[in-house]
Assembly symmetry: C2
Homo-oligomer: 363 residues x 2
C-alpha cells in the first residue's frame, strides 16, 4: 500500500517559514513512527501569481483534488494589493475551497493555559476557553452570483449576492451537530434572521437538522449579539455554526480573544472520499504577516497544530495527533517562546526554526 499523500502549499509571507518547521515534524513522524507521507509541494497565492500569472495553477488544483490532504501556509501581501480582483492571492485560496468543496471550516478558539496572559481580556474570562466555530465555507456572499461592479445610470454599483440553498445549510449544520456530539453537546447557530431572508432559511434548516440530534442543546443568536457575547462571556459557547461571511468575522473575533493567534490551527473539510476520510485542507488561522516575514519571528505552532489536525481528521492517527499536541504543550510549559509570545519573565526566546527544533525534540 502506498503512503498517504500530502500536498504542501506554503504560499506567501511567513507561510514558507512556518511550513519549513512542519516539514521537520513530518520527517520525524516518518523516521520515528514509521508514518511516512508522500509529500509534494506547490505554489499558491502571490507566489503562484509570480510564477504563473494566476494565484493557483490548474495543475496545482488537480493535485489538490487527488491527495489525501492539503496543508496551506498563508496567502497575500501588500505586493499584491493592486492586482486585479480575479488574480489576487486570495482567489487561489478561494478556488481551493470551492473546487475541493470544503464546506465545513473548523476554527477552534482555544486559550492555552500558559498563554492566557496574552489575551486582551481578563484572565478569568478566557482561561480554559475552548470553543469551536464551524463556518460554512463554499457558499454565501463569497461565491453568490450576480457579483461585480456594474454601470447604472451615471454611476457604478457594487453587487454581491448572499445565497444559501437548503442542502448547503444542511450539510454545514450536520457537521456542526456531529462535532457537538463529540464535545459538550451544545450548539449555537448565528445569523441575522431578523433582517435577512437567507438567515430565516438558515435558522429553519438548522432547527430541522437538530431534530436528528435530540441530545444536542441548540440555540440561535443574531450574529451582532453573537459578537457581543463572544466578547462578554465566550465560555458560554461550545460549538458555534454560522455562514461564510459571519464566520469569517466571528471566528477572527473569537480567535483574538485567546490573544495568541500564532497558536491556532484550522481544518476545512468536505465530503468523504473513497477512503472514507473527508476531502481536507488544513491551515493556520493567522495570515501571511508581511511585517515580520523573513525575520525568524513567526510562530510555527499554528501550522504544526494544523498538521496535528490532519493526523486526526485525514489520517486516522488520533494518538499521533495527541502526541504532537502534547509535545507543543510541553515546549510551552518549558517556557520556550517565539517573538509573538514574549513579555513574561523567565521565558526562553527562540526563532521560528528553534521552535520547530524544540517541538521535534519534545516528540
Amino acid at each position: 500500500m502506498s503512503n498517504p499523500s500530502l500536498l504542501i502549499l506554503p504560499g506567501d509571507g511567513i507561510g514558507p517559514e512556518v511550513m519549513a518547521e512542519v516539514r521537520k515534524v513530518i520527517t520525524w513522524f516518518g523516521d520515528k513512527r514509521d508514518l511516512a507521507f508522500d509529500v509534494s509541494e506547490d505554489l499558491v497565492g502571490g507566489a503562484a501569481y509570480d510564477a504563473h500569472g494566476v494565484p493557483l495553477h490548474d495543475d496545482t488544483m488537480a493535485k489538490a483534488l487527488e491527495v489525501d490532504a492539503v496543508l496551506l501556509g498563508a496567502v497575500g501581501g501588500p505586493k499584491y494589493d493592486d492586482l486585479d480582483f480575479s488574480v489576487k492571492p486570495e482567489r487561489g485560496l478561494l478556488r481551493l475551497r470551492k473546487e475541493m468543496d470544503l464546506y465545513s471550516n473548523l476554527r477552534p478558539a482555544q486559550c492555552f493555559d500558559a498563554l492566557a496572559d496574552f489575551s486582551s481580556l481578563k484572565k478569568d474570562i478566557v482561561a480554559g476557553l475552548d470553543i469551536m466555530i464551524v463556518r460554512e465555507l463554499t457558499s454565501g456572499v463569497y461565491f453568490g452570483e450576480p457579483r461585480g461592479i456594474f454601470e447604472e445610470g451615471n454611476e457604478r454599483v457594487g453587487i454581491n449576492t448572499q445565497r444559501y440553498t437548503e442542502s448547503e445549510i444542511e450539510r454545514a449544520a450536520r457537521s456542526a451537530f456531529e462535532l457537538a456530539m463529540r464535545r459538550n453537546k451544545k450548539l449555537c447557530s448565528m445569523e441575522k434572521a431578523n433582517v435577512m431572508e437567507s438567515g430565516i432559511l438558515w435558522r429553519e434548516v438548522v432547527t430541522r437538522v437538530g431534530a436528528d440530534y435530540p441530545e444536542v442543546e441548540l440555540s440561535h443568536m443574531y450574529a451582532d449579539n453573537g459578537a457581543m457575547q463572544l466578547v462578554r462571556a465566550p465560555k458560554q459557547f461550545d460549538v458555534i455554526v454560522t455562514d461564510n461571511l459571519f464566520g469569517d468575522i466571528l471566528s477572527d473575533c473569537a480567535a483574538m480573544l485567546t490573544g495568541s493567534l500564532g497558536m491556532l490551527p484550522s481544518a476545512s473539510l468536505g465530503a468523504p472520499m473513497d477512503n472514507g476520510r473527508p476531502k481536507a485542507m488544513y491551515e493556520p488561522v493567522h495570515g501571511s504577516a508581511p511585517d515580520i516575514t523573513g525575520q525568524g519571528k513567526a510562530n510555527p505552532i499554528a501550522c504544526i497544530l494544523s498538521f496535528a489536525m490532519a493526523l486526526r481528521y485525514s489520517f486516522d492517527q488520533g494518538a499521533e495527533a495527541d502526541r504532537l499536541e502534547a509535545a507543543v504543550e510541553q515546549v510551552l510549559a518549558d517556557g520556550v517562546r517565539t517573538a509573538d509570545l514574549l513579555g513574561e519573565e523567565g521565558v526562553t526566546p527562540v526563532s521560528t526554526g528553534e521552535m520547530g527544533d524544540c517541538i521535534v525534540a519534545a516528540l
Copy 2:
C-alpha cells in the same frame, strides 16, 4: 416661532421604561432652561403590531418625516419571534431608517472611567476608550433586491443582495470624514475588498472622498481583521466607517468592549432639512431586553444620552448637551448605579426611575 418638535417612539421591552426617564429630563429642560419641545408619542415595533397589525403605522411614518427629531427606545421581543418577516418589530425600525433616509449611523464606543471595571477586557486596554463607528444605514444587504426565499429545483434558496452605489458610499464616507475632522483626524474604513466587489468599490470611493480631506489620515482594513483589532487594541482607532452589515456586527463588538451597553447612545442622521439640521433619529445601542422588562432594572442612561445627542445634532444646543452629559457623569461619580452596573463596593443601587430622578437632580 414654534417649539422644536420631537417624536418619541418608546417601542417594546424596556423601551417605555427608559423613555419615561428621558421624559423627566425633557420636562426639566422646558421648565428650567426655557427649552420647550413639542413632544408627541407613538408606537413602533411589537407595540405597533399589537395595536395596528403592522410594526409602523403609515401615520407614524408621516409624523416621523415631519418632526425635527425622533427618539426611539427599542424594538422586538420573544412574543414576536414567530411573526411573519414582513411584520416583525424590526421592520418598523428599518422602515424609519429607510424612509427618513438616515444613511449615517453614529455609534460611539466610549468607556466611562467610573465603569472601566465592567469591561471583560483588561483595564489598560479599554480605559479612556473613545471611538466612533459610522455605519452606513440605508443600503447594503439590509435593503438590496432581489431578496427572499425562492423555490429552486426541489429545494429552496435564501437570497439577499449586498448592493452599494457610488453615491451611497460617498455620502456615508463624507459624513465620516467630517466627523474625523472634528475629532482626531484618523479614519479607518473596513470592508472585505479581498473577497467582495462591493468592497472594492467601497474602498475606491472612500479613498476618492478622502482627497477632499487631506488632513485626515485614512487607512483601510479588512472587516475580519477589524474585529480582531477591536478586541486586541481598540484604542488604535478614532473613527471607523463601514457598511450596514459589517457596521451592525463591528459596532456591537466595539460597544461590548466598554462593558456597559446601558450607557451607549446612537444617532442616525440623514440629509439636511430646510432648517439646515439633518433628519435624525436617536436611540440607545442596547435592545429591548425582555428578560428584565418591568422590573426597574433597566439603565435609562443610554436613552438619556441619546437625547443629549439630539440636543447637540438636531437642536443646536451643544452647551445644554454638555450640561446633560456632565450631570450623568456626576451621578456616576457619586456611585449611583442601576442593576446592570452593580458589583463594586460602596455604590448606591437604584431603580430605573431613581436613576432618572438623580440625573434630573444633578441638572
